[in-house]
């Protein structure tokens, strides 16, 4: 499966709250970051979690966010960043 996004591209995390097992933390949903690495295809953990094959594999990306964008009341340094690995089904072009 070819990766939809490339290193350096800006991506926005989907605003979605499905009830089952997901691997995208709550605090990045709806937030915009930048792809720093395309980690390759991995079996989909949202399927593996229910005893299924996890195929087709999904591209997994390393995405960097400005931490101050993630929490309104963030008290740390302005240049702080947060890195999260996110599967392609959670990412959109902004």
């Amino acid at each position: 499966m070819s990766a939809r996004f490339a290193v350096g591209e800006t991506v926005t995390v989907r605003v979605a709250f499905p009830p089952g097992h997901v691997r995208t933390p709550f605090f990045v949903r709806g937030k915009t970051g930048r792809v720093t690495e395309v980690l390759g295809p991995y079996r989909n953990p949202e399927e593996l979690a229910y005893g299924r094959s996890g195929e087709p594999a999904l591209p997994l990306y390393r995405v960097i966010f400005d931490t101050a964008d993630l929490w309104d009341d963030y008290q740390g340094a302005a240049q702080d960043t947060t890195v999260v690995d996110i599967y392609e089904n959670w990412l959109e072009a902004p």
Binding site: V15, F17, P19, G20, H21, P25, F26, F27, R29, P45, L48, A49, Y50, G51, G54, L70, W71
Partner: protein, 118 residues
């Protein structure tokens, strides 16, 4: 399901607590009780690619489904064994009857306060 409304009204699942206030991080290495090491070993054997009985994804899903009360009250390895147990029951690897009988045997053999050999 254990979805909760966050401050801004969005649905957050209980376990998904990254960034919430949680107090200081315990940085010391913990001593593990023999039963905790055994739980760890059970999971590793079940998830071993040769056996492939359980994936860590299923383990995590099972922990998330314990619900907010149990999730907060149970210790780390208590959550693991609860999830492993539920997964093995769902998959038909063990039965409720079998498990209940075996637990009764173990309780009889190891009365409360008996130290487990490591």
């Amino acid at each position: 399901m254990s979805n909760e409304r966050s401050e801004d009204g969005l649905l957050r699942r209980h376990h998904d607590m990254g960034g919430l206030p949680a107090g200081p991080v315990e940085r010391n290495e913990h001593d593990y009780a023999p039963w905790e090491k055994r739980v760890d070993a059970i999971l590793r054997l079940l998830a071993d690619p040769k056996r492939g009985v359980l994936t860590v994804d299923e383990l995590r899903r099972g922990i998330e489904e314990l619900g907010p009360g149990a999730y907060d009250e149970m210790s780390y390895y208590e959550r693991w064994i609860a999830s492993v147990t539920n997964n093995l029951l769902e998959k038909g690897v063990i039965t409720v009857d079998e498990l209940g009988r075996r637990m009764a045997e173990v309780s009889a053999a190891w009365p409360a306060g008996t130290a487990e050999k490591s």
